[in-house]
């Protein structure tokens, strides 16, 4: 992964040298004229990586000089994001960014290395709503049954999920509050890492993302999903709203640029992503993998991040997640 970046870096560097001497610096109207570096702040094979890989080929049609996907993982994404904000703001370095991570990390850590609004939102292209699943052979056939059991035995029902102070964690706490129950949330180091614990019966349920319910549709029984409306790939799964709980929560993914990236370039990148997310091949792959496509440009996604910031601030204080 890193070698890719390294080699391409040399290639890019020599190209800059070759062109830089003869040409005036690239203007926005010439964008894109250089390779795009697309940073993924998580492990290869995860949701962010899979999305980037789906986009990689279509992106190459726009970036004739090439698209380089590199990984800067660590700290639940924070290592990559704190690097991004120090990168050159010329529109050729972008990173995948995830909500609620980019809001909760600066909120709950003393120094996450970046501030939420340092990340210049380009385009928000997908979401994966929280979904509560149990094993196919579980006695719980509906959310109601699970809640009834949890009421009877507070704390005994364990719910695995991806990470602490994550969308899964928040979703579980929100359900606890809304239903007046006590589910014991058990964080794992990723949505994938939580799967064997449910399949092996070590936890009673998972609060996971829609992608996982689609991927393991043969093994999991989804009880309810935290989206506004039902998802087309999971037509039989009721929303929490339908079942009387006003809970909408999940992870949102998009791309961000370093602060100070010119607005017209950001708009151009957003335009490229917008056209990619409308390609039938991309839509098909996103659907198959359980992603919900969102289409928020620079203004819409920035406004969305600000709205969520206000929301999470209240939530975090209510739940006592704030540390330091």
């Amino acid at each position: 992964m890193g070698r890719n970046g390294f080699l391409k870096g040399i290639v890019a560097f020599s190209m800059v040298l070759a062109t830089g001497f003869f040409l005036v610096p690239a203007q926005a109207d010439e964008y894109p004229s250089k390779p795009l570096t697309y940073i993924i702040c998580f492990n290869p094979g995860g949701e962010s990586d899979i999305t980037a890989r789906i986009q990689e080929q279509p992106l190459q049609k726009h970036y004739k000089e090439g698209v380089v996907i590199t990984y800067k993982k660590g700290g639940g994404g924070s290592v990559g994001w704190s690097e991004l904000i120090k990168s050159k703001a010329d529109g050729y370095t972008i990173a995948g960014d995830n909500l609620p991570h980019i809001i909760l990390q600066p909120l709950t850590r003393g120094n996450a290395g970046y501030n939420t609004l340092d990340l210049k939102q380009i385009y928000l292209f997908e979401s994966t709503p929280n979904i509560l699943v149990v094993r196919k052979d579980s006695p719980f056939k509906s959310l109601k049954e699970l809640i009834a059991y949890a009421k009877e035995k507070p704390g005994a029902m364990t719910v695995g999920g991806s990470g602490s102070s994550s969308a899964n964690d928040l979703g579980t706490q929100m359900l606890n509050k809304a239903a007046g129950i006590k589910l014991t949330y058990i964080p794992f180091t990723g949505s994938g890492a939580a799967v064997p614990s449910l399949l092996g019966g070590h936890v009673g349920a998972l609060m996971t993302y829609s992608t996982m319910a689609v991927r393991y549709s043969g093994d999991f029984r989804p009880l309810a999903i935290m989206s506004e409306e039902r998802m087309s790939v999971l037509p039989d799964v009721p929303t929490f709203k339908e079942l009387g709980f006003d809970l909408v929560e999940g992870a949102y993914r998009g791309v961000a640029a370093p602060p100070g990236t010119p607005d017209d370039i950001v708009k151009k990148i957003a335009g490229i992503f917008d056209s990619i997310m409308k390609e039938p091949g991309v839509i098909k792959k996103m659907d198959e993998n359980g992603f919900k496509i969102e289409k928020m440009g620079p203004e819409a996604s920035t406004a969305f991040v600000k709205k969520k910031m206000a929301e999470y601030k209240v939530l975090v204080e209510e739940m006592g997640l704030k540390k330091k």
Partner: protein, 510 residues
């Protein structure tokens, strides 16, 4: 099933696929031999190239790279005392002493035969025993992982050449270092010294290069660069036949190491890095002359290299059957499967059998290809390294350490940390602390911490949450294994003590 195997063989026998297996294996070996460039990285690097390919050639190439990479790690372990990938940590213990004695080629042949055996064993298990073996991956919940970590730590009694106390201190240091960064459970920020880059914790590769490679370079330099050859090479007639014969006679070792590798491969979260050390430990423990381990015994090299290549096939068992990657490179292969529209599960073995069986067989073929390429390449490489004067070798490797530690996360902090660990590691050598226990602590720390905290949370419904650690029979088996493994080195001396009242100092520990 045999129809499917034949079908797979048919696909594999195309010129394109055979060429990809060959090219992939060779490329993997080169990447694996470079310290810091891991199998996970090599596989991720190649993913974009597979888009332009059909599923079969794409997967065949990835599999061959993976297999070759795990094997290639042995070269640098043997020749420059630095594991090329974390899967070859244990190979340094006996491989490097062998190389220093001019038996580098013998060590490489041993590693090659072991790797091929282990690789094929893992693939055979993958093809024939996937469904029953995949269930193992699900048996291990948080409490069991905690005990797996504890069991792993008991290996220290073998790893610590010298004082057991220093070994355990080193391991504790490693565990402590593993807590740097964001807590895996709870998300607290720990010991980052205010540096955002430290939120990601200390990467194993960084510490591996720092603790193994840098002290080695410093030692070479301090011995005087001009007159010293780092590795000697003696051309011995018939070394190939003799060594192959010798390795193949180690039947129990090959078989045991293969089983250890396959089973650890199946466990998600534990891969070649743990398998090679457990296997080394078991080989040493069951040996009639454990004291010879670490002095240049081919059995040690065979044990580690057989186990790590068995992990390749083993790790894919839960991936293909349940969609659970057994080792980190498998997670990337999972992503490729999904993008190609292939979903793990029974259908992979029925409707998509052409793809699955071709892929599995290509892994086996890669393991076979390693033998001629490895033996020939190994001889060239040994000769090259031994002919290279230290004044070229040391700076050359020095540059590789920097590239390797940067490449793992594209992070400059890692280079500084690597150098820092290098200096610390050099100093610790003089105090009698060895690198392996520290690295073991770093590997096992997160496994134990995750298991412990998750088990505690799971136990909320019990009268005491700690009870969750002791409920399952598997936990008890692991506890018994840990106790046995921990006490093993003391058993011999204890026996002697009872036989000869009057007392003997427990020499087995020292």
């Amino acid at each position: 099933m045999f129809g499917n195997i034949l079908l797979g063989l048919q696909h594999l026998a195309s010129f394109e696929n055979l060429l990809l297996v060959f090219a992939g294996t060779v490329a993997g070996m080169v990447v694996g031999a470079l310290p810091g460039l891991t199998a996970t990285m090599a596989v991720a690097l190649l993913v974009p190239f597979t888009y332009a390919m059909d599923p079969i050639p794409g997967l065949v190439l990835l599999g061959a790279i993976y297999m070759g990479c795990i094997y290639g790690g042995a070269f640098s372990a043997i020749l420059i005392n630095t594991p090329g990938t974390p899967s070859s940590i244990g190979t340094t213990f006996d491989g490097y002493p062998m190389a220093s004695q001019g038996r580098g080629e013998e060590a490489i042949i041993g590693a090659t035969v072991g790797s091929a055996f282990g690789g094929i064993f893992g693939v055979v298990a993958l093809i024939f025993l996937s469904p029953p073996l995949a269930a193992i991956a699900l048996k291990f919940g948080p409490p069991e992982y905690f005990w797996v970590g504890v069991f792993g730590l008991t290996i220290i009694s073998s790893l610590a050449a010298g004082s057991f106390l220093k070994g355990i201190t080193g391991a504790a240091f490693g565990v402590l270092i593993s807590t740097i960064g964001i807590a895996p459970i709870g998300g607290d920020v720990r010991f980052t010294f205010g540096l955002p880059a430290m939120q990601g914790g200390i990467e194993l590769i960084v510490m591996l290069i720092g603790l193994f490679c840098i002290p080695e370079l410093l030692t070479i330099v301090s011995k005087g660069i001009g007159k010293h050859q780092v590795v000697e090479y003696k051309r011995t007639k018939g070394v190939l036949r003799e060594t192959v014969k010798k390795v193949l006679s180690l039947r129990k070792n090959l078989l045991r190491s293969s089983i250890i590798g396959t089973v650890i491969g199946i466990l998600p979260g534990a891969g070649g890095n743990i398998a090679n050390l457990v296997s080394y430990n078991e080989a040493r423990r069951t040996s009639k002359h454990p004291e010879k381990y670490g002095t240049g015994l081919i059995d040690g090299v065979v044990a580690t290299e057989t186990a790590n290549n068995a992990v390749v096939g083993g790790g894919m068992i839960p991936l293909f059957t349940l969609g659970i990657p057994g080792a980190p490179p498998d997670a990337i292969i999972y992503g490729v499967l999904l993008l190609q529209g292939l979903r793990p599960g029974p259908e992979l073995f029925t409707t998509r059998a052409d793809i699955t069986y071709t892929f599995m067989l290509s892994l086996g073929l890669a393991a076979i290809v390693m033998v001629p390429v490895g033996i020939y390449g190994g001889r060239l490489l040994t000769r090259f390294v031994s002919s290279l004067p230290a004044r070229y070798l040391v700076p050359g490797i020095g540059i590789l350490t920097i590239i390797g530690s940067y490449a793992i996360r594209n992070n400059y902090t890692d280079v500084i940390l690597m150098l820092l660990f290098g200096v610390v590691g050099y100093g610790l050598r003089f105090l009698g602390f060895q690198a392996p226990p520290i690295v073991l602590g770093l590997i096992l720390g997160p496994i134990m911490e995750g298991g412990l905290v998750q088990a505690y949370l799971m136990g909320q419904a019990y009268s005491s949450p700690w009870i969750a650690l002791f409920v399952s029979p598997l936990s008890w088996i692991l506890i018994a294994m840990s106790a046995f493994s921990f006490l093993w080195p003391y058993i011999g001396p204890l026996k002697k003590m009872f036989q000869k009242p009057g007392g003997i100092t427990p020499g087995g520990v020292e």
